[in-house]
């Protein structure tokens, strides 16, 4: 019978954090429970998953709402489903002289993901509210995330704005979070946490396969519940996380759990729209395309009708 189940192809970074949830879905049989079979298609780079979705080789992948909104504005009907609110943050040595956003003035700061990175723009927006031009006041160095982490360790960079799983490792090595993009979101007026990443799928596919799309979202939610409560489930993931020691492993577990979205879909959509407007101001047309507001339907409508 198993063969009869329809397949959902999920394109993922092999060691991406989303993979933890996906593995849990399979291990716990949650996909079968909701009437589909999950096929994980691993890739080595984030760009690859994007290309795979464009080329129609996977049904679901992960990305952020900025990208989804921009593609929608250009006529590509993608939809976004929040996955995690664990977002980028600035890390610096705990003992150092960088304790707040203002302390970054005159410092060299590594920025993962380039000048259009969502977290970077959010922090710039927050800084500008207090009259600081973060891009001008600091020397940003754009580069590959692992390389930047390494450069912080080497002391070549004073601080690094990086993704949360890189930061979790740094936290075990004497580095502290200076400020997180989530704080920026709050400063813009968001009430809850906004998502950093989410599942992305083609709206047409979701409409043609409503049960699959729905089932996938339900399985994801169940998996999060398992990971939130069960330490055993985490043991299965231990190797997959690539944690080099127990401390890192526990930190990753803790941060992952904190990142499970708690807002209602509507609230999160509205919060995100607020943040989007701020980003549109900073990033301009280059970032968001012709639309100055988040494209309607960016958050999958199926979410609100359901849970």
């Amino acid at each position: 019978q198993e063969q009869d189940l329809p397949i959902v192809r999920l394109g993922l970074l092999q060691y991406g954090t989303v993979n933890w949830e996906a593995k849990t879905i399979v291990d716990e049989g949650l996909d079968e429970k909701y009437g589909f079979e999950l096929e994980i298609v691993p890739f080595a780079g984030g760009d690859a998953t994007k290309v795979a979705l464009m080329a129609g080789n996977v049904d679901v992948t992960t990305d952020d709402w900025l990208m989804v909104s921009r593609q929608r504005a250009m006529g590509d009907p993608l939809v976004f489903i929040p996955y995690s609110t664990s977002i980028g943050a600035v890390m610096a040595p705990c003992e150092g002289d960088i304790q707040s956003l203002e302390d970054l003035e005159g410092k060299t700061i590594g920025v993962a993901g380039g000048p259009l990175d969502k977290s970077w723009l959010m922090l710039r927006g927050m800084a500008s509210e207090s009259g600081m031009d973060l891009a001008a006041a600091t020397t940003p160095v754009f580069g590959a995330p692992p390389l930047l982490t390494e450069k912080l360790r080497q002391g070549e960079l004073d601080a690094v704005l990086n993704y949360w799983h890189y930061n979790a490792r740094l936290e075990t090595e004497g580095y502290c979070e200076v400020i997180s993009a989530q704080e920026a979101a709050r400063s813009f007026g968001a009430e809850g946490a906004v998502s950093a990443v989410g599942y992305v799928m083609n709206e047409e596919w979701a409409e043609e396969n409503p049960d699959l799309a729905r089932g996938f979202v339900d399985a994801s939610r169940d998996a999060k519940e398992v990971l939130a409560e069960s330490d055993e489930a985490w043991e299965r993931l231990r190797e997959m996380t690539g944690a080099e020691n127990e401390e890192v492993f526990q930190m990753l577990k803790q941060r992952f759990r904190e990142g499970i979205p708690t807002s209602t879909p509507t609230q999160e959509r509205d919060d995100t729209a607020i943040v989007y407007n701020e980003l549109a101001k900073i990033g301009g047309e280059q970032l968001v395309g012709p639309a100055t507001e988040m494209a309607p339907g960016t958050f999958w409508s199926g979410l609100e009708s359901g849970s």
Binding site: V41, G45, A52, A55
Partner: protein, 253 residues
């Protein structure tokens, strides 16, 4: 006899020196940034035993082989045509410069989007990246050919086979050797990118995974595994072929 034996000795010494140097450097650097040869060797052994490395390596090698053969065949034909016919050269030249300079990334993404994320797309993308390089090299060879041999062949009404096999190929041999050696390396480098961007296996896929984890040991391990294969190809296949091809040459002063 004794000459080739001393060459083997020198070669081994050279390789030993390499590992020694590596070992010494690794003593002074954090092992996370620069693991010692033994750490890398342990990793390679473990991954080999588990079958993971042989799996990814063999897949990558197949891709390299396919793209290499394709690129050499098409590139040589194109380069030869351009070297021999001024008309073809003038017309194709802008295209050559264009394709030479299109970033690998662009070609790869367009192939994936157009052909789909398939093996065909991957190999096509790699070959497309390499073809202009081969063409550029072979073209120089075709231009530098000595016309007196061709005249002789025409007088004696050489068949087409003889002309290509006995007159043209030997003159292009050094260019072909250069294109092949730097070609296989280039193909491999692009295969890595192709695997990063849209394949779910292969050495490039693995290397990038480990790059995300900043596991230098694993990156080095996979790299060296491929290099070892290339060294074997070099010494067991290319060099004997080379020696054969060079046999007729007078000694250099």
């Amino acid at each position: 006899m004794s000459r080739s034996r001393s060459a083997t000795a020198a070669r081994l010494l050279s390789v030993a020196l390499f590992f020694l140097l590596w070992h010494v450097v690794s003593l002074y650097v954090s092992p996370r940034l620069f693991p010692s040869p033994w750490q890398v060797a342990t990793f390679v052994l473990r991954e080999t035993e588990s079958g993971v490395l042989p799996y990814h390596l063999s897949i990558t090698l197949l891709r390299v082989l396919a793209a290499f053969v394709l690129a050499m065949a098409v590139g040589s034909a194109l380069g030869f045509l351009m070297g021999r016919s001024r008309g073809a050269d003038v017309v194709l030249q802008p295209w050559l410069i264009l394709t030479l300079n299109i970033p690998a990334l662009v070609v790869i993404i367009l192939s994936y989007i157009w052909i789909g994320m398939t093996e065909t797309a991957a190999i096509t993308a790699v070959a497309l990246n390499k073809i202009p390089n081969v063409a550029v090299t072979i073209r120089e060879g075709a231009r530098a050919m000595d016309p007196t041999y061709m005249e002789m062949a025409r007088v004696y009404r050489f068949s087409r086979v003889k002309i290509y096999r006995d007159v043209i190929a030997p003159q292009l041999q050094p260019y072909f050797a250069a294109a092949a050696r730097s070609g296989i390396a280039l193909v491999w480098k692009i295969v890595l990118v192709v695997e990063l961007l849209g394949r779910s296996n292969g050495v490039g896929f693995q290397i990038h995974l480990y790059f995300q984890l900043f596991d230098v040991r694993a990156i080095m391990g996979y790299t060296l595994a491929f290099v070892a294969v290339m060294l074997a190809v070099e010494f067991l296949a290319l060099q004997p072929l080379d020696r054969r091809a060079q046999r007729w040459r007078p000694k250099q002063v």
